[in-house]
Protein backbone atom coordinates (compact mmCIF):
# COMPACT_ATOMS: atom_id res chain seq x y z
CA UNK A 1 0.00 0.00 0.00
CA UNK A 2 2.79 2.40 0.95
CA UNK A 3 4.65 1.32 -2.17
CA UNK A 4 1.67 2.26 -4.35
CA UNK A 5 1.23 5.62 -2.60
CA UNK A 6 4.89 6.57 -3.15
CA UNK A 7 4.67 5.54 -6.79
CA UNK A 8 1.50 7.53 -7.33
CA UNK A 9 3.00 10.63 -5.73
CA UNK A 10 6.23 10.46 -7.78
CA UNK A 11 4.38 9.87 -11.05
CA UNK A 12 2.07 12.83 -10.42
CA UNK A 13 5.15 15.03 -9.82
CA UNK A 14 6.56 13.66 -13.08
CA UNK A 15 3.41 14.66 -14.95
CA UNK A 16 3.57 18.21 -13.59
CA UNK A 17 7.25 18.50 -14.56
CA UNK A 18 6.55 17.22 -18.08
CA UNK A 19 3.77 19.74 -18.58
CA UNK A 20 6.03 22.63 -17.59
CA UNK A 21 8.94 21.35 -19.70
CA UNK A 22 6.51 21.64 -22.60
CA UNK A 23 5.44 25.12 -21.55
CA UNK A 24 8.71 26.92 -20.77
CA UNK A 25 10.50 28.75 -23.58
CA UNK A 26 14.01 29.48 -22.27
CA UNK A 27 16.48 26.74 -23.17
CA UNK A 28 18.40 26.66 -19.91
CA UNK A 29 15.27 26.26 -17.76
CA UNK A 30 14.18 23.37 -19.98
CA UNK A 31 17.56 21.72 -19.31
CA UNK A 32 17.21 22.31 -15.55
CA UNK A 33 13.66 20.92 -15.51
CA UNK A 34 14.86 17.87 -17.47
CA UNK A 35 17.40 17.29 -14.72
CA UNK A 36 14.58 17.27 -12.17
CA UNK A 37 12.63 14.89 -14.44
CA UNK A 38 15.45 12.32 -14.58
CA UNK A 39 15.97 12.58 -10.81
CA UNK A 40 12.28 11.81 -10.24
CA UNK A 41 12.54 8.93 -12.77
CA UNK A 42 15.39 7.32 -10.91
CA UNK A 43 13.52 7.70 -7.61
CA UNK A 44 10.67 5.76 -9.25
CA UNK A 45 13.14 3.06 -10.35
CA UNK A 46 14.46 2.73 -6.78
CA UNK A 47 10.89 2.40 -5.55
CA UNK A 48 10.29 -0.37 -8.13
CA UNK A 49 13.39 -2.22 -6.79
CA UNK A 50 15.34 -1.76 -10.05
CA UNK A 51 18.38 -0.31 -8.36
CA UNK A 52 20.82 -0.89 -11.23
CA UNK A 53 18.54 0.93 -13.68
CA UNK A 54 18.27 3.80 -11.20
CA UNK A 55 22.06 3.89 -10.95
CA UNK A 56 22.41 4.16 -14.74
CA UNK A 57 19.63 6.73 -14.96
CA UNK A 58 21.30 8.89 -12.31
CA UNK A 59 24.73 8.66 -13.95
CA UNK A 60 23.68 9.12 -17.58
CA UNK A 61 20.44 11.07 -17.36
CA UNK A 62 21.07 13.39 -14.47
CA UNK A 63 24.85 13.66 -14.65
CA UNK A 64 26.26 13.46 -18.14
CA UNK A 65 23.30 14.39 -20.32
CA UNK A 66 22.54 17.51 -18.27
CA UNK A 67 26.14 18.65 -18.74
CA UNK A 68 26.06 17.88 -22.48
CA UNK A 69 22.74 19.72 -22.91
CA UNK A 70 24.13 22.75 -21.07
CA UNK A 71 27.25 22.78 -23.25
CA UNK A 72 25.06 22.55 -26.38
CA UNK A 73 22.78 25.35 -25.11
CA UNK A 74 25.84 27.55 -24.54
CA UNK A 75 26.74 27.20 -28.24
CA UNK A 76 23.23 28.00 -29.52
CA UNK A 77 21.93 31.51 -30.18
CA UNK A 78 19.02 32.86 -28.11
CA UNK A 79 15.86 30.91 -28.91
CA UNK A 80 12.99 32.14 -31.02
CA UNK A 81 9.40 31.16 -30.30
CA UNK A 82 8.21 28.26 -32.39
CA UNK A 83 4.91 28.52 -34.23
CA UNK A 84 2.27 25.92 -33.47
CA UNK A 85 2.06 24.86 -37.13
CA UNK A 86 5.71 23.82 -37.10
CA UNK A 87 5.01 21.60 -34.11
CA UNK A 88 2.20 19.58 -35.74
CA UNK A 89 4.28 16.69 -37.19
CA UNK A 90 6.07 16.13 -33.90
CA UNK A 91 2.79 16.28 -31.93
CA UNK A 92 1.24 13.67 -34.25
CA UNK A 93 4.34 11.48 -33.92
CA UNK A 94 4.32 11.77 -30.11
CA UNK A 95 0.60 10.90 -29.88
CA UNK A 96 1.06 7.88 -32.18
CA UNK A 97 4.06 6.56 -30.22
CA UNK A 98 2.31 7.00 -26.88
CA UNK A 99 -0.78 5.19 -28.20
CA UNK A 100 1.41 2.27 -29.35
CA UNK A 101 3.16 2.20 -25.95
CA UNK A 102 -0.16 2.21 -24.06
CA UNK A 103 -1.43 -0.72 -26.18
CA UNK A 104 1.82 -2.63 -25.50
CA UNK A 105 1.68 -1.89 -21.74
CA UNK A 106 -1.86 -3.26 -21.57
CA UNK A 107 -0.55 -6.60 -22.89
CA UNK A 108 2.49 -6.84 -20.57
CA UNK A 109 2.56 -9.43 -17.78
CA UNK A 110 2.05 -8.11 -14.25
CA UNK A 111 4.95 -6.78 -12.15
CA UNK A 112 6.85 -9.71 -10.65
CA UNK A 113 4.66 -12.39 -12.28
CA UNK A 114 6.62 -15.71 -12.04
CA UNK A 115 4.99 -17.05 -15.22
CA UNK A 116 6.12 -14.14 -17.43
CA UNK A 117 7.97 -15.38 -20.53
CA UNK A 118 11.21 -13.66 -19.49
CA UNK A 119 11.38 -15.80 -16.32
CA UNK A 120 10.86 -19.10 -18.15
CA UNK A 121 13.32 -19.06 -21.07
CA UNK A 122 16.99 -19.21 -19.94
CA UNK A 123 16.84 -17.54 -16.55
CA UNK A 124 16.40 -20.76 -14.48
CA UNK A 125 19.51 -22.21 -16.16
CA UNK A 126 21.54 -19.07 -15.42
CA UNK A 127 20.38 -19.03 -11.80
CA UNK A 128 21.24 -22.72 -11.31
CA UNK A 129 24.50 -23.13 -13.21
CA UNK A 130 26.28 -19.77 -13.36
CA UNK A 131 27.88 -19.95 -9.92
CA UNK A 132 29.40 -23.38 -10.50
CA UNK A 133 30.55 -22.37 -14.00
CA UNK A 134 32.33 -19.09 -13.35
CA UNK A 135 32.54 -18.79 -9.53
CA UNK A 136 31.10 -15.26 -9.44
CA UNK A 137 28.37 -14.92 -6.79
CA UNK A 138 26.39 -12.12 -8.52
CA UNK A 139 24.23 -13.49 -11.34
CA UNK A 140 23.83 -10.19 -13.19
CA UNK A 141 27.60 -9.64 -13.27
CA UNK A 142 27.97 -13.23 -14.40
CA UNK A 143 25.62 -12.78 -17.36
CA UNK A 144 27.15 -9.46 -18.40
CA UNK A 145 30.79 -10.40 -18.01
CA UNK A 146 30.82 -14.10 -18.89
CA UNK A 147 27.83 -15.25 -20.94
CA UNK A 148 27.72 -12.01 -22.93
CA UNK A 149 31.37 -11.05 -22.60
CA UNK A 150 31.95 -10.23 -26.29
CA UNK A 151 28.69 -8.30 -26.41
CA UNK A 152 29.75 -6.15 -23.46
CA UNK A 153 33.19 -5.60 -25.00
CA UNK A 154 31.59 -4.34 -28.23
CA UNK A 155 29.22 -2.09 -26.30
CA UNK A 156 32.08 -0.60 -24.34
CA UNK A 157 34.04 0.12 -27.53
CA UNK A 158 31.00 1.83 -29.11
CA UNK A 159 30.38 3.97 -26.03
CA UNK A 160 34.07 4.86 -25.78
CA UNK A 161 34.13 5.97 -29.44
CA UNK A 162 30.97 8.04 -28.99
CA UNK A 163 32.47 9.71 -25.92
CA UNK A 164 35.67 10.53 -27.82
CA UNK A 165 33.61 12.07 -30.63
CA UNK A 166 31.58 14.21 -28.24
CA UNK A 167 34.70 15.41 -26.45
CA UNK A 168 36.36 16.26 -29.77
CA UNK A 169 33.30 18.25 -30.87
CA UNK A 170 32.93 20.17 -27.62
CA UNK A 171 36.59 21.09 -27.16
CA UNK A 172 37.15 22.22 -30.77
CA UNK A 173 37.10 25.88 -29.69
CA UNK A 174 39.93 25.55 -27.20
CA UNK A 175 41.98 23.56 -29.74
CA UNK A 176 41.56 26.32 -32.32
CA UNK A 177 42.61 28.90 -29.78
CA UNK A 178 45.79 26.96 -29.03
CA UNK A 179 46.74 26.64 -32.72
CA UNK A 180 46.06 30.35 -33.26
CA UNK A 181 48.31 31.09 -30.31
CA UNK A 182 51.10 29.03 -31.87
CA UNK A 183 50.67 30.77 -35.23
CA UNK A 184 50.88 34.16 -33.54
CA UNK A 185 54.06 33.14 -31.78
CA UNK A 186 55.62 32.07 -35.11
CA UNK A 187 54.66 35.39 -36.67
CA UNK A 188 56.27 37.31 -33.86
CA UNK A 189 59.52 35.52 -34.44
Amino acid sequence: MNFLLINFFLISLLLVTTFFIFKTTSLISVVALTGAFTLLCSAIYVNLDAVDVAFTEAAVGSGISTILMVMAAAKLPEGKKNKLINLFPSIILAVAISLILIIIIANLPLLGDPNAPIHLHVVPEYLKESKDFFHIPNVVTNILASYRGFDTLGETIVIFTAGLGVIALLTSNTLNRKTNFKKNKKNER
Binding site: G35, A36, V70
Partner: protein, 89 residues
Protein backbone atom coordinates in the same frame (compact mmCIF):
# COMPACT_ATOMS: atom_id res chain seq x y z
CA UNK B 1 6.57 4.06 11.13
CA UNK B 2 8.84 7.05 11.67
CA UNK B 3 10.47 6.38 8.30
CA UNK B 4 7.14 6.73 6.52
CA UNK B 5 6.47 9.99 8.33
CA UNK B 6 9.88 11.22 7.15
CA UNK B 7 9.05 10.14 3.61
CA UNK B 8 5.82 12.16 3.69
CA UNK B 9 7.68 15.28 4.88
CA UNK B 10 10.33 14.80 2.18
CA UNK B 11 7.62 14.40 -0.47
CA UNK B 12 5.98 17.65 0.55
CA UNK B 13 9.33 19.46 0.39
CA UNK B 14 10.04 18.04 -3.09
CA UNK B 15 6.66 19.38 -4.23
CA UNK B 16 7.44 22.82 -2.79
CA UNK B 17 10.85 22.87 -4.51
CA UNK B 18 9.19 21.90 -7.78
CA UNK B 19 6.79 24.83 -7.42
CA UNK B 20 9.78 27.15 -7.08
CA UNK B 21 11.49 25.52 -10.08
CA UNK B 22 8.41 26.10 -12.23
CA UNK B 23 7.55 29.59 -11.03
CA UNK B 24 11.08 30.91 -10.40
CA UNK B 25 11.46 34.27 -12.18
CA UNK B 26 15.26 34.10 -12.56
CA UNK B 27 17.19 31.03 -13.76
CA UNK B 28 19.20 31.06 -10.52
CA UNK B 29 16.04 30.23 -8.55
CA UNK B 30 15.59 27.24 -10.84
CA UNK B 31 19.18 26.04 -10.39
CA UNK B 32 18.93 26.33 -6.61
CA UNK B 33 15.61 24.52 -6.43
CA UNK B 34 16.74 21.73 -8.77
CA UNK B 35 19.89 21.11 -6.76
CA UNK B 36 17.84 20.99 -3.56
CA UNK B 37 15.41 18.56 -5.25
CA UNK B 38 18.43 16.35 -5.92
CA UNK B 39 19.54 16.51 -2.29
CA UNK B 40 16.05 15.73 -1.00
CA UNK B 41 15.70 12.77 -3.36
CA UNK B 42 19.07 11.42 -2.22
CA UNK B 43 17.90 11.63 1.40
CA UNK B 44 14.60 10.08 0.33
CA UNK B 45 16.36 7.09 -1.25
CA UNK B 46 18.29 6.31 1.92
CA UNK B 47 15.15 6.73 4.08
CA UNK B 48 13.22 4.56 1.59
CA UNK B 49 15.86 1.86 2.01
CA UNK B 50 15.41 1.87 5.79
CA UNK B 51 11.61 1.99 5.51
CA UNK B 52 11.48 -1.11 3.28
CA UNK B 53 14.18 -2.99 5.25
CA UNK B 54 16.85 -2.83 2.54
CA UNK B 55 19.35 -0.27 3.84
CA UNK B 56 22.04 -1.09 1.25
CA UNK B 57 21.03 1.68 -1.11
CA UNK B 58 23.01 4.33 0.75
CA UNK B 59 25.86 4.28 -1.78
CA UNK B 60 23.39 5.16 -4.55
CA UNK B 61 22.30 8.25 -2.67
CA UNK B 62 25.97 9.21 -2.28
CA UNK B 63 26.43 8.99 -6.06
CA UNK B 64 23.29 11.09 -6.57
CA UNK B 65 24.70 13.89 -4.48
CA UNK B 66 28.02 13.83 -6.38
CA UNK B 67 26.30 13.97 -9.78
CA UNK B 68 23.92 16.68 -8.61
CA UNK B 69 26.91 18.82 -7.70
CA UNK B 70 28.35 18.28 -11.21
CA UNK B 71 25.12 19.37 -12.90
CA UNK B 72 24.92 22.55 -10.84
CA UNK B 73 28.54 23.41 -11.66
CA UNK B 74 27.84 22.85 -15.38
CA UNK B 75 24.83 25.18 -15.41
CA UNK B 76 26.75 27.88 -13.55
CA UNK B 77 29.62 27.61 -16.04
CA UNK B 78 27.09 28.22 -18.80
CA UNK B 79 26.39 31.64 -17.32
CA UNK B 80 30.12 32.34 -17.08
CA UNK B 81 30.57 31.58 -20.80
CA UNK B 82 27.55 33.69 -21.69
CA UNK B 83 28.81 36.67 -19.69
CA UNK B 84 32.20 36.46 -21.44
CA UNK B 85 30.47 36.45 -24.84
CA UNK B 86 28.33 39.46 -23.99
CA UNK B 87 31.43 41.37 -22.79
CA UNK B 88 33.17 40.76 -26.10
CA UNK B 89 30.16 42.02 -28.08
Amino acid sequence: MIFFATLIVLGVSVALCLVRAIKGPTPFDRILSISSIGTIIAIGISVHGFAFDRPDFVDISLMYILLNFLGTIAILRYYKIKRKKSNVV
